[in-house]
């Protein structure tokens, strides 16, 4: 009986997916008038063109390497992520915040003790951790120039904490992580509000931009990425620590 039901479910799923696939094929090969899915970018005024030319505010403005522009981040993905669409990115931070909090909420309470691990990992731990912190730090400071940015940087920094746990050492306490998380979160939204107070619009990049290609350019972006990296690493480290026996202080709130 149960096997019959599973088989039926499989057949239904295959039929449904086959229909969907046929529909997508029909859409991709359709030759009606109008823009098709497979056409190359034919629409005028694509948003991306203005982002690449950095002329959103003034259609005729030009910019040069080493000169000024409306957004002086050399990495245009970063410019889109942390300046043109900064609001999305700050909400993304909230997504991680609420899911990790939900994770801590639903996880059953009994934790395991952190086990002592092999001598080898324990001896190499400081070097490994320093290396990871350096890589992470480089990433969020240079996020506006080279690939990387706050989120992978935070992930890599949190791996340092994970390695510490695997080697049998809890390097930070739950309480510290909670404070880092809250302070970074509040700072991000305070910066957004500061933009409203200074320039009349939320989430505005109100610092002087600097020149394209410099380390100290792109206005607020490096600061925001630093905050994002700290917040992400605190949250992810919190997830790892939830699996093990942590400090007593965080549970009774």
């Amino acid at each position: 009986m149960k096997n019959d039901k599973t088989l039926l479910m499989n057949i239904l799923a295959i039929v449904f997916l086959a229909l969907l696939a046929y529909f997508i094929y029909a859409v991709a090969t359709s030759s009606d008038v109008g823009i098709n899915l497979m056409d190359d970018n034919v629409v005028e005024n694509r948003v991306a063109d203005r982002y690449l030319n950095k002329n959103v505010l003034d259609e005729n403005s030009q910019y040069e390497w080493g000169g000024k522009a409306e957004d002086s981040a050399a990495n245009i993905v970063t410019a889109v992520l942390a300046d043109y669409r900064l609001f999305d990115t700050s909400l993304e931070v909230i997504v991680l915040f609420v899911t990790v909090m939900g994770f801590g909420l639903v996880l059953p309470d009994e934790r395991r003790k952190i086990k002592e691990s092999t001598q080898l990992l324990f001896n190499w731990l400081p070097i490994l951790m320093t290396f990871m912190l350096l890589v992470g730090g480089y990433m969020f400071i240079n996020g506006h120039l080279s690939p990387g940015g706050g989120f992978p940087a935070g992930a890599i920094i949190s791996t340092a904490i994970l390695v510490g746990i695997l080697a049998g050492k809890q390097t930070v306490s739950h309480h510290t992580l909670k404070i880092v998380e809250a302070v970074a979160g509040i700072s991000i939204f305070s910066l957004a509000t500061l933009g409203f107070i200074l320039k009349g619009s939320f989430f505005i990049n109100f610092l002087e931009g600097g020149n394209i290609g410099d380390v100290f350019s792109a206005g607020l972006i490096p600061i925001l990425y630093t905050l994002v990296a700290f917040k992400v690493s605190a949250e992810l480290s919190g997830v790892y620590l939830e699996f093990y026996k942590g400090g007593e202080e965080h549970d009774h709130a």
Partner: protein
């Protein structure tokens, strides 16, 4: 040449994804899923998206698999 490499990687990725579904061993499935993510991050480099590649490799392959394995160990105890 690049096309050949890209197609081999895509086929590898698809085979790994099917493997994730059919293997009865959950731990194996998690590890194979990490392979899917890693191959995807190589494909992102082919698409000229280094930012996405770094994020996918560290978050998609690294952290996600770590959380999966930690949770699975917790369940199987």
């Amino acid at each position: 040449m690049m096309i050949l490499l890209a197609s081999v990687l895509s086929i590898l990725m698809i085979v790994a994804a099917v493997w994730v579904l059919i293997t009865p061993n959950i731990l194996k499935a998690i590890i194979v899923f990490a392979i899917v993510s890693l191959v995807a991050s190589v494909l992102f480099i082919f698409m000229h998206a280094p930012d996405v590649a770094i994020t996918e490799a560290s978050i998609g392959a690294g952290i996600t698999s770590a959380i999966f394995i930690l949770s699975y160990k917790r369940i199987s105890e």
